[in-house]
Amino acid sequence: MSSKSLHVLFDDDDILLDAVKQIVKSKIHINEIYTPFPVHGLDKAMKLKPTNMSIATFIYGCIGFTVAIMMMNYIMIVDWPQNIGGKPSFTLIENIPSFVPIIFEMTVFFAAHLMVITFYLKSKLWPFKKAENPHPSTTDDKFLIDMEIGTNVANTKTMLKKLGAISIDVINKDEDEK
């Protein structure tokens, strides 16, 4: 593996997207792309695997749904039977309409929170973590591609210039880590 890599800056997401498609076409590996906001279609252009997050979220929602029903059953029916709306039936099924808002909220709560936590874990983000971001301006208005140098640095550079890069830095990874 080459210890060198390129940091290529762009200042427009559309130009970035076209450039990424070209880079992928010329079979140069892209390590990572840093953008100030989510760029639609970037994952497709980089040929990343589709995310499974939606399936995970669906499962979390189902867990929330189940937990809510069990919780309401325990609180309102088993542990301290409640007379709901003057209808003292004391069964879960006959009182279910009054639990639907809670079941809905718990489903959303579980789906949303567990999804965000999963996302943080998968992105290796946790409190006090040092930022991996190589260039501060990617949090402002620039887009950075961290990529391999390819077979010939000069050729790669001319290609990237043509694609609209505003600056290209060759990074020596060993030095960087010191």
Binding site: H40, G41, K44, S54, F58, I84, G85, G86, K87, P97, S98, V100, P101
Partner: protein
């Protein structure tokens, strides 16, 4: 240029045969309806409906009482001894009540589909106005489909008005507040007489219909005019008319739902009823747009419509189905929870006598679209959109059925020749008028300033 739609013989034959078969069903319904109390008694005796509908726990007296607005729920409170069930006149009165229900049945059977298809058209008109007022980019390729569907609006409103006119002329007993004899004995209705009286009712109805139809005709004309010239002032006019129309629509639609649907049950009221009816018509309208678009695409028209457009329509179907369920549940849960007699009768009738339809429709209108259309890939698959669309249309037909029938015919409901024939008749008229209207204009609204955006519309997450 794109191939314009030609009114195909296939649709013509289909719709005309639907109309004819439907007419037969309707006529049979009217023929078999009783014209005297004695006939009604015989029909009831031969139906032996007690075992069919299993409603003997709460018993005849209970829902018989709650259905018949004239002898409404709190009868004893409002003091109408003639109609009270402990009085000696009860037997006769009950028979008369059943007679009224059976007499209403064929009328209600045509009123339900007449309303349903009119509301599909009206829902599409609202959707169209929203697209115009928000100057949406994606939906312009579908404008001519929407304009075609709203082409039915005028005729649909005329059908509804005719049925309402027959009610006012006492051909049926759908709207009990139109009967002065009932009103005289009913304090609740008497207190509402400033609003619920026949002349004002029709003045309002004509105002709503005129407002909707005029907006539809104006925008249709402007839209066709835009095809000829790219004048931006036409676009601005369309925007202004649409924004103004939406204000008018939100008020008139809500009042329409009180007048034409809620007043069948003049004792009962729900403050979110207008929204609830709107959600139903909106989702059935959007579904109809999707179904007709996919049909025309399968006939090699609309080559500029891609799966991103279908995906967007399916997203609307999904979202508005949930919105409908939210309103349905909000209305149900509050009334169920508070358990106030004059409100809760509405749901008691539906749960006692219409249990399967009442809860079955929630499965069709919420659970099925929710589960099937949740997946993004399914939303762009024509087959699945059609399947879900048909389920949603059936579900919302049952929803309208559930709004009208329990108050009109009580537990005497069935899906007989009149109901099925009525649905087929109005479906036939709807298809004929809509496809003819689509064939009357160029298939693409090519003069719209955002037409290129619409033709190249691509949802980033689709291939």
């Amino acid at each position: 240029m794109y191939k314009d739609y030609k009114f195909s013989n296939q649709i013509k034959v289909l719709s005309i045969s639907l109309i004819l078969i439907g007419l037969l069903g309707i006529l049979y319904g009217f023929y078999s309806a009783p014209s005297t109390v004695e006939e009604a008694k015989e029909i009831v005796a031969s139906m032996s409906h007690d075992s069919d509908h299993g409603g003997s726990v709460y018993g005849e007296s209970d829902h018989g009482d709650s259905d018949h607005g004239g002898s409404g729920y709190g009868e004893s409170d409002y003091g109408d001894s003639d109609h009270g069930y402990e009085s000696s006149g009860h037997e006769y009165d009950h028979d008369k009540h059943v007679f009224n229900q059976l007499h209403n049945k064929p009328w209600a059977a045509i009123y339900v589909p007449a309303l349903f298809f009119m509301m599909i058209s009206l829902g599409v008109l609202a959707f169209y106005a929203i697209q115009r007022a928000s100057q949406a980019g994606w939906s312009i390729v579908l404008y001519r489909i929407m304009e075609g569907i709203t082409g039915y609006l005028f005729l649909g409103c005329v059908f509804v008005l005719i049925i309402l006119g027959f009610s006012a002329l006492k051909f049926n007993h759908l709207f009990i507040w139109m009967d002065p004899e009932v009103v005289a004995h009913d304090e609740i209705i008497r207190n509402k007489i400033g609003y619920l009286n026949i002349p004002f009712f029709f003045v309002r109805a004509i105002i709503y219909v005129a407002g909707w139809v005029i907006y539809r005709e104006i925008t249709r004309r402007l839209s066709l005019q835009q095809d000829e010239n790219n004048d931006i002032s036409v676009h601005k006019k369309l925007f202004k008319f649409s924004a103004g129309f939406l204000v008018f629509f939100l008020v008139s639609e809500s009042m329409m739902s009180w007048d034409w649907i809620m007043s069948i049950d003049p004792h009962w009221f729900s403050t979110l009823f207008g929204w609830y009816v709107f959600a139903g018509m909106f989702v059935s309208g959007i579904t109809t747009i999707a179904l007709i678009t996919i049909y025309l695409k399968s006939k090699n028209y609309l080559e500029f419509v891609n799966n991103s457009h279908i995906h967007d329509l399916a997203k609307f179907m999904f979202g508005v189905s949930i919105f409908w369920a939210y309103l349905w549940f909000s209305q149900f849960m509050l009334i169920w929870y508070s358990n106030i007699p004059e409100e809760v009768t509405y749901f008691i009738t539906r749960i006692e006598d219409y249990n399967f339809l009442f809860f079955g429709m929630v499965v069709l209108n919420l659970i099925f679209p929710l589960i099937v259309l949740m997946n993004s890939d399914f939303k762009k698959t024509n087959f699945i959109v059609i399947l879900t669309g048909i389920v949603i249309i059936i579900g919302h037909y049952i929803d309208v059925y559930n709004m009208i029938m329990p108050s009109a015919v009580g537990d005497m409901w069935s899906f007989g020749p009149a109901e099925i024939g009525g649905f087929m008749f109005f479906l036939g008229v709807f298809l004929y008028v809509v496809f003819r209207a689509i064939s009357k204009a160029p298939i693409l609204a090519k003069g719209d300033p955002f037409i290129e955006e619409s033709k190249t519309f691509q949802y980033y997450n689709l291939d």
